[in-house]
């Protein structure tokens, strides 16, 4: 493997200072320029700026910013509902990830099976993917209506089954799970697609060999499918966790952080600090925290992917 790489590198080692190569480099820079400008202005500069702003106290209007050092970070915990928000964000991320992975793995296993007397697979695949096509904004409205205490479909069904209705959006502790369920609904489809791609890549020979050795279907699942699917599971777990930390629209629309701070997430707090209370300094400090959290999760993801490539 290394020899091949070395050979490729040798092949690539063309003389770099011929007029031809210089010409190519200049043209290349010109081709890259629009991308570099766009990314520098709209991603890198704001990224730098958010770090910068997090050291200042600023309301966004006044012309002077007051340098306060790290105090924006150290006073984050004084924000109303800070601890509940942090805990809530973690519960939300973990809850969404666990349920999404469990459901989508099960669904992918079912979808992968083919044969007579089974429901049309391509139809089911489209159905399970469908929620991913909808905007979070739209999904938020839909679930908000479904969770409605008096008129929502969920309570109507509960009542018709003889159960007592639940006040989904105004009960402390329940609303958090209502939000998690709605988020799982939108995330499952993506994971199903990735799991299906992973399942189709498992070599059939392994199952054939196991069958010859007399393994039953549970053994095949535990000893072949799940270990072979480990990379897909890791990827799905990390991407779902990142998506959960980034999620803003859905909880904002369904419950708007209520009741109390029960469904207040980090992202919503950033938005509120920036554009409701105009506390740009602390808003930026919280943004930095979010960026760091997501970067760390992504680094873990990268680590796992590297490991897989080496194997």
């Amino acid at each position: 493997m290394k020899d091949v790489k070395a050979m490729a590198l040798n092949h690539e080692k063309v003389k770099k200072n011929t007029p031809f190569e210089r010409q190519r480099t200049i043209t290349g820079v010109c081709f890259l320029l629009p991308t570099i400008i766009l990314v520098a202005v709209f991603i890198i500069w704001p990224l730098f700026q958010v770090f910068n702003l997090s050291f200042f106290e600023w309301n966004g209007v006044s012309s002077t910013k007051r340098f306060v050092g790290l105090s924006n970070y150290t006073t984050l915990s004084d924000l109303p509902g800070f601890w509940e928000m942090s805990w809530g964000t973690i519960v939300y991320a973990v809850g969404v990830t666990v349920f999404t992975i469990a459901i989508s793995f099960l669904v992918a296993l079912f979808l992968d099976k083919q044969g007579k007397a089974r429901i049309n697979r391509s139809f089911m695949r489209v159905l399970w993917f469908f929620p991913c096509l909808l905007s979070m904004a739209v999904v938020g409205i839909l679930w908000r209506i479904m969770y409605n205490y008096n008129n929502g479909v969920i309570n109507t069904v509960l009542k018709s089954l003889g159960l007592s209705p639940v006040n989904w959006l105004e009960t402390y502790g329940v609303t958090r799970w209502a939000i998690i369920i709605a988020s799982v609904w939108t995330q499952v489809g993506m994971c199903v697609v990735i799991f299906l791609a992973g399942l189709q890549a498992v070599p059939i020979e392994l199952f054939e060999a196991a069958e010859i050795d007399g393994a039953n279907s549970r053994q095949k699942l535990l000893r072949i499918t799940i270990p072979m699917m480990a990379p897909s599971i890791t990827i799905n777990m990390l991407t779902t966790t990142i998506a959960a930390f980034k999620m803003y629209e859905l909880p904002m629309i369904v419950s708007n952080g209520l009741p109390g701070y029960n469904t207040l997430l980090l992202t919503k707090k950033i938005y509120d600090l920036g554009f409701t209370s105009h506390d740009f300094g602390r808003g930026s400090a919280l943004s930095v925290v979010l960026i760091l959290v997501i970067t760390i999760i992504s680094l873990i993801q990268l680590f796992f992917l590297r490991k897989r490539e080496e194997v």
Binding site: T35, L47, V138, I141, L142, S287, I294
Partner: protein
């Protein structure tokens, strides 16, 4: 005997699967039939539909939403943002991918590494400086500002896709073009551009769905009354206040229909986009 037993197990499995499927099916079914029903029918019989319910309402929910919500303007704004951003993303992304995959310089691979690293950054983390920036650049509430931001934030993934695709193309293609006296620009247009159709489709669909469905960017960078986009407009209309369910469902269907139709025709590229996104570093 054995086959009968196996059959029974298959059917039991399918039933279980069907039960699980109700989780996605019920909400979807609920809002699709709800769009054709009146207010009372939605509340009293949420999951049933018959001809007399449809007869009373027909498409009146849709026409109401279309008239009252400034749907047409929202559709134009969202359409313009999506199309122009995608044009910018495809042009810049393919050019960048071409250079990065074909010209062997350290600077270019450094740019590539930076772009791939930037895929991680969450948009909402940069929201505060971006809004400040948009007032400084006087692009607040202009579609152009929104288009530029959407293109910039979609570019890293596009460059990643294009670079990966072009690296896999044989080197001989390019070399023979040079021998025949083609310039680099000529090579790009005549040799590479025609080959890029599949990756362009993947890129457009992946980016297009995100931009079409976007709420956060247009909500924070556009004035939602003067320049509504679809998702922002729908939320202003149905978000906070007590809503007429039938209208909300009709709005949801109208706003999502373009993407759903696109999906039904181009499923393959949707799947490709997701799988490529998952394997990214």
């Amino acid at each position: 005997m054995i086959s009968r037993k196996r059959m029974a197990r298959t059917i039991a499995g399918e039933l279980l699967f069907l039960l699980l499927t109700l989780f996605v099916l019920i909400p979807v079914y609920y809002f699709i039939i709800g769009a054709f029903k009146g207010r009372l029918d939605i509340v009293k019989f949420p999951l049933s539909i018959n001809l007399s319910m449809i007869k009373d309402v027909g498409f009146s929910n849709f026409s109401y939403v279309f008239k009252r919500m400034k749907m047409f303007q929202a559709l134009l704004n969202t359409g313009a943002i999506t199309i122009f951003s995608l044009v910018i993303v495809v042009i810049c992304g393919s050019l960048a991918g071409f250079v990065i995959s074909r010209v062997n310089r350290k600077f270019f691979s450094a740019v590539y590494t930076t772009l791939v690293a930037l895929m991680v950054v969450p948009f909402i983390g940069c929201l505060i400086p971006l809004v400040i920036q948009s007032t400084q650049l006087k692009t607040y509430n202009s579609l152009i500002g929104c288009i530029l931001i959407q293109s910039a934030w979609n570019l890293p993934f596009a460059v990643f896709l294009f670079t990966g695709f072009m690296r896999a193309l044989p080197k001989e293609l390019e070399e023979s073009a040079y021998i025949d006296g083609c310039t680099m620009i000529g090579t790009y247009f005549k040799i590479f551009l025609p080959l890029l159709a599949p990756v362009t489709a993947t890129c457009c669909i992946r980016g297009g769905v995100g931009i079409w469905n976007d709420y956060l960017v247009s909500n924070s960078l556009l004035n939602s009354v003067q320049t509504p986009t679809l998702m922002v407009g729908i939320n202003m209309f149905f978000g906070a206040r007590k809503t007429e369910y039938g209208y909300a469902f009709a709005g949801i269907i109208l706003a999502s229909l373009p993407i759903v139709i696109l999906f039904l025709f181009l499923q393959k590229y949707f799947i490709k986009g997701i799988v490529a996104g998952a394997v990214k570093g």
